[in-house]
Structure formats: structure tokens, C-alpha cells
């Protein structure tokens, strides 16, 4: 068979190479200590058809167009059974500031996935990283140590001088999961959300349909998969949103294993902000005390 994970021209390798490269570039742009995390999850049974779930995240700044052009080209040349060409890209921060990026994708589970992982560890030994400090402590607590593969290296400048003050530690985490209904746990869906689904859907639908911005409305309708020739009513939009939310909640509810791997953007506990009980204080919340 042509390219398996272990050959140099393997699509898996090319993809990881590219994603890590761009994450490192973002860390370099940041000019402050950054975290680069690579996480790899594989199904427990080696022959399973469930995919490898890969996540590359960083706390750098500045995505570039070339990044997406390159990934797009890679997607075209990669056989669909190896990678379906889909990326989930999440950034924290909106509008003016982006302080982190996570790229997630699913790769086919090759027979020689072990070799691929070994290759990945070796890859990190050779990374030339400038002004990026990589920290891995958060990952360690969640997994048994024999599933952890750690690579440590010192990066040298191309002219042979040792780079000053540079220390890179990279942890590649492999984890086994028993079931694999949905690829990622990037949200918290709690039982509370299920109660609110109809009202939340109604609110968003109301907002969309109150808009006089046709482009915005069309984009929303397209995202929801509603045909533009359909008669779009608020009720239709509301039920479309509702159905999607309910489906997501059900998917998460049926997962047997709760993922505990620490994604960069894991939802925090929805605890009540601690506030002094203001009794009958009414108006402005300018008052902190």
C-alpha cells in the first residue's frame, strides 16, 4: 500500500508537520512565554476504525493566510480515507485580541500508528524554536505515565551556536478511549442547558429574524442547513436550532467515557460568580462591595 503513517511522505506526517510549524510561528510572534500542546487520542483496540484524534494548540498570536492555503493544498492531496479534510479551529478572544488557537482533526487509525507516534516524538527533538518556552505540566496530571511520551531537547541556532536560555519540553500524550461517539468535547453541556434549549433557540431565532441585514440572515440560514427557497419563519429557525442542540446534548449524554483530557479551551465550571448578597440593593451594579 502506498503511504502509511510511517513513510516520509505520509499524509499524517505532513499534516502534523504543518500544524506544529504554524503553531510555533504563532508562539514566536507572541514575544512572551507560550504554551504549545499536542494531544493525540487513539482507540483502545488497535484494529478499530475509530479515528485518531489530534489536537495542536498554542497560546501564540497571528494566524496567517499561508497557513490555511497550505492546509487546503494538503487536504486536496490527502486521500479522504486518511483525513476528511476537516479542521476544527478554535481561538480564544474575539474582535481585537486573539490569545490562543487550537486546531483539532481526526486522522484514520493506521495499523502502524505506534510508528507514527514515535516519529512525532522524534520530530519534536529536532524542532528549532526561538523565544518560545513550552510548558507541559497541565497535561501530566491526567494520564497514567506509561501513556506519556516525553521528548526533551535543546535547540541550536543554524550557525551552530547554542541558543541562550532556551529550553523546550514537549509532551506527546496518547490516550486510549473506550468509545468514540463524538470527536471532541469542546463544550460543557449540562442538564441545565437541556431545559433552556427551547427558550435559547427562540431568543436566537428572534434575533436573526429581527435583523434587516439580509446577508447576516442568509448566512445564519445557510449554517442551519435551511434552504433559501423555503419559507423561513421564526418557528422554523427556532426548531432547527433546538433540534441541533438537543442532538448534541444527547450525544454527550450517551458517551460512556467522560473525557478528562485537558483541552486548551475546556469549559470551566459554571459556578456562580461570588457576589456579596446585596439584599434589597437595586440599581447599578457599579458597586463591588
Amino acid at each position: 500500500m502506498a503511504s502509511s503513517s510511517s513513510s516520509a511522505s505520509s499524509p499524517h506526517r505532513k499534516l502534523l508537520h504543518s500544524l506544529v510549524y504554524w503553531a510555533v510561528q504563532r508562539c514566536r510572534m507572541s514575544e512572551s512565554p507560550c504554551r504549545l500542546t499536542v494531544s493525540l487520542k487513539r482507540p483502545a483496540e488497535p484494529a478499530s476504525t475509530s479515528p485518531l484524534r489530534v489536537s495542536v494548540s498554542d497560546t501564540g498570536v497571528g494566524s496567517k493566510l499561508e497557513e490555511f492555503l497550505e492546509l487546503d493544498a494538503l487536504a486536496r492531496e490527502t486521500p479522504i480515507e486518511k483525513w476528511d479534510g476537516t479542521l476544527l479551529i478554535t481561538t480564544t478572544g474575539m474582535f481585537s485580541v486573539s490569545i490562543g488557537t487550537e486546531v483539532c482533526l481526526c486522522l484514520s487509525n493506521e495499523a502502524d500508528a505506534d510508528d507514527f507516534i514515535l516519529w512525532l516524538v522524534g520530530f519534536f527533538h529536532k524542532i528549532l524554536v526561538l523565544r518560545a518556552a513550552v510548558s507541559i505540566s497541565e497535561l501530566l496530571s491526567f494520564l497514567e505515565l506509561d501513556l506519556l511520551k516525553i521528548g526533551t531537547g535543546a535547540a541550536n541556532n543554524v550557525d551552530g551556536r547554542k541558543a541562550k536560555g532556551l529550553h523546550v519540553e514537549v509532551v506527546i500524550v496518547t490516550a486510549r478511549t473506550a468509545s468514540d461517539f463524538s470527536c471532541w468535547k469542546v463544550n460543557c453541556s449540562s442538564t441545565q442547558v437541556r431545559e433552556y434549549v427551547p427558550d435559547l433557540a427562540e431568543s436566537i431565532a428572534g434575533l436573526i429574524l429581527s435583523s434587516n441585514d439580509k446577508e447576516f440572515q442568509d448566512e445564519c440560514i445557510a449554517l442551519l442547513g435551511l434552504g433559501s427557497d423555503q419559507d423561513i419563519s421564526e418557528g422554523l429557525v427556532q426548531s432547527s436550532i433546538s433540534e441541533k442542540m438537543v442532538r448534541i446534548i444527547e450525544l454527550n449524554d450517551t458517551k460512556e467515557n467522560v473525557d478528562t483530557a485537558p483541552y486548551l479551551f475546556e469549559c470551566e465550571r459554571l459556578d456562580e460568580d461570588s457576589q456579596l448578597d446585596e439584599g434589597d440593593a437595586d440599581e447599578d451594579m457599579v458597586f463591588d462591595f
Binding site: 485580541v97 463544550n187 460568580d273 447599578d284 457599579v286
Partner: protein, 358 residues
């Protein structure tokens, strides 16, 4: 106003980790809301990994705030930095989705509503999500922290509570001039509309602005026409009508004027002012008859504790507060009245002339 703008710009330029809320036109805020909705729908509809998103909000906690001074001013204020907390769009007592929807519609109609009006509208439409004004205010602040625009940019203004009287002539464009020294004792109501305020022409020969917590005291001083004896303007917020300055809550209010608040930390730098504490303070205790002292209530102690643990409290205020907590008592300003109803005016004038404020 120009100097304040340069000062703010210098500070943000120097420390780009500080966050602020932008004053935006309605169309821009609506665009930001649309982006939020599109992001949410895109996550819902993702083919490989559908999700119900949580929102990244600038964290308004004491861990995420600091006190900074602008480059060109002596005013310190609360600033927040780029740390985020994640919150869902819909939560009991904090249904941001409804607030966002309502603001989107309000802005679409070019309107501006009071916080109170918003509360009543939400209460009638969705009573199970909002049971009091505080919940609505909190949801509004969360939307501010998400979209990073000012509250007024969302089409919401604080309900007008303030009044002023004294040596000031106000001139709204296209309106009659208002001489605030010849008004009745309830003074001139200060609008909550910041746009209108920014367009006001003000002229004054006052040397002092005196901030009075209680409406009753404000009216007493207004009736006595204190501003004819002392070149000043009297202002009251009337927000907490039963609170006097000689107790922890009064000091808390002073600190809010002085530094802004964490809850509104993205806007605080615009409104903080270098206010000083005139009275009642520890030195004035000898003026107050023993019978007028009251026990500090649990709520007072709670506020005192919160203030004392705040990194912002200046030393002199901290000393006063500690004394207050140690004696376990508080007194209202009215406790000075046994000396005569005009005593208060004389007390204030004396303190000002002697520079006795901290």
C-alpha cells in the same frame, strides 16, 4: 476631554494587556452581536464536532484587576486585563441571550433604554430567567464583557438617579440655559444619557464639588444654599438613600467614585475621579452624642471586610475603617443636627477651608 483621551491612549499603548470597552455606534455593536450568533451557529452545525459553545468573557474578578494611573493624570482607576472566563449563553438568573436579543432590537430601532426598563421588559417576557434588577444588570455586564463595548453602546443607560445644585450653568445644545443656583432644593436631575452629558456646555466659578450620599442631606444643604457661602456644586447619587458616609458602605461608595468598580472594570477608567473623604470621620466622633451611635450590622461588617481586603484601599482610609470596625459602631450624618440645623454647613465649610479631607 481631549487630555483624558490622550492619557487613556498612552496607557493602553504602554500596556497592551489592559482591556477596555469601546464606545461604538449601533451598527458596529449589532455587527459584533451578529458575529457572536454566527460563531454559535457554526459550532452547532459543525459536521465533525457539533457543540453548544460557551462564550469567552473578560473576567471581572479581583484576580484579574489592577489599579493603574494614566500617564497624564493623577487619577487611579481599576483596569482589567485579558483573562477570560467561559460562560454559557443561557443560565439561571443570567440569560445573556435574552439581553443580547433585546439590545440588538433596541439598537436596530435607534433607541436608548434605562436599565430599569430593560428589567421590566425581560421580567414580563421571561420571568423565570430574571427575578430582580441585579440579575439583569449582571447579564448586561456579561454582554459588555463579551462584546467589549460600553453599556451605553448596547443601548442601555443607568437609570437617572443623580441630582445637582449650585454654582453651575448648564447649556444643552438647542435648549435654554439652566442656572443651577436658583433651583428648588431637589436640584437638577442628572441624565443617565452619557451622550447628552458629553454635549453639555458647562460654566462655573465653583472651587469645589461636594458629593453627598444621602438625598436628605443634599436637600438640607440645598435649602441652606451652602453654595452661596462656599463656591461649590453639590451632587448626590441618591442610590442608597439610607446610607450615611460614616459607615463602611459610605466608604465603599467613595471608593467606587474614586477608582471605578471591577464589575464595570472595562469602563472604569473613563469615570474614575480623584474624590476625597471629608466626613464623617474618626476625628468627628467627639461631635456626636453617645445615643446617636448604632451597632454595625452584619452587612456593614461584610462590606468592611471586603474593603479591607481590597488592594486599592489607601492607608488613611484603611486606618479609618479599622477604627470603625474596632469600635463596632456607626453614626449617620444627621447625628450632627443636635448642634443646630445650620451646623452641617459650617462643619463642611470648616473642613474644606482647613483642607481636612483624605
Amino acid at each position: 476631554m481631549a487630555a483624558a483621551g490622550v492619557a487613556a491612549a498612552s496607557l493602553f499603548g504602554a500596556d497592551c494587556r489592559l482591556c477596555s470597552a469601546d464606545i461604538l455606534a449601533p451598527a458596529e455593536v449589532r455587527a459584533r452581536i451578529e458575529v457572536a450568533v454566527l460563531n454559535f451557529l457554526a459550532a452547532l452545525a459543525s459536521p465533525t464536532s457539533p457543540a453548544i459553545s460557551v462564550l469567552p468573557l473578560i473576567s471581572r474578578s479581583s484576580a484579574n484587576c489592577s489599579l493603574r494611573s494614566g500617564l497624564l493624570s493623577d487619577v487611579s482607576s481599576v483596569y482589567l486585563s485579558y483573562a477570560f472566563c467561559k460562560r454559557s449563553l443561557m443560565r439561571e438568573n443570567n440569560a445573556k441571550a435574552f439581553v443580547m436579543e433585546l439590545c440588538y432590537k433596541i439598537l436596530g430601532e435607534g433607541k436608548l433604554v434605562h436599565q430599569r426598563e430593560l428589567f421590566y421588559k425581560l421580567l414580563s417576557d421571561s420571568p423565570q430567567y430574571f427575578s430582580c434588577q441585579r440579575h439583569v444588570n449582571r447579564a448586561i455586564q456579561d454582554v459588555v464583557a463579551l462584546l467589549r463595548c460600553t453599556r451605553q453602546s448596547l443601548g442601555v443607560m443607568a437609570s437617572s438617579r443623580g441630582a445637582l445644585i449650585g454654582r453651575l450653568v448648564l447649556h444643552e445644545p438647542d435648549e435654554e440655559q439652566i442656572d443651577c443656583s436658583i433651583l428648588g432644593a431637589s436640584g437638577h436631575e442628572i441624565t443617565g444619557d452619557l451622550n447628552v452629558l458629553s454635549k453639555l456646555n458647562l460654566s462655573s466659578d465653583a472651587r469645589y464639588i461636594i458629593v453627598v450620599e444621602k438625598d436628605a442631606i443634599f436637600q438640607r444643604l440645598a435649602e441652606d444654599r451652602l453654595y452661596n457661602q462656599l463656591p461649590c456644586i453639590l451632587i448626590t447619587a441618591k442610590g442608597y438613600p439610607d446610607i450615611a458616609t460614616r459607615n463602611p458602605a459610605g466608604l465603599a461608595i467613595l471608593c467606587t467614585y474614586k477608582y471605578g468598580s471591577i464589575s464595570m472594570g472595562l469602563e472604569s477608567y473613563r469615570y474614575a475621579c480623584n474624590v476625597k473623604w471629608l466626613g464623617l470621620r474618626g476625628d468627628d466622633l467627639q461631635l456626636i452624642p453617645e445615643s446617636a451611635f448604632q451597632e454595625l450590622k452584619p452587612r456593614d461588617l461584610q462590606i468592611a471586610k471586603s474593603l479591607l481586603s481590597s488592594k486599592f484601599l489607601q492607608e488613611s482610609h484603611r486606618a479609618e475603617l479599622t477604627l470603625m470596625v474596632e469600635t463596632g459602631k456607626r453614626a449617620e450624618i444627621e447625628a450632627l443636627y443636635p448642634h443646630g440645623f445650620d451646623f452641617l454647613g459650617k462643619y463642611i465649610a470648616r473642613k474644606i477651608v482647613q483642607g481636612d479631607y483624605i
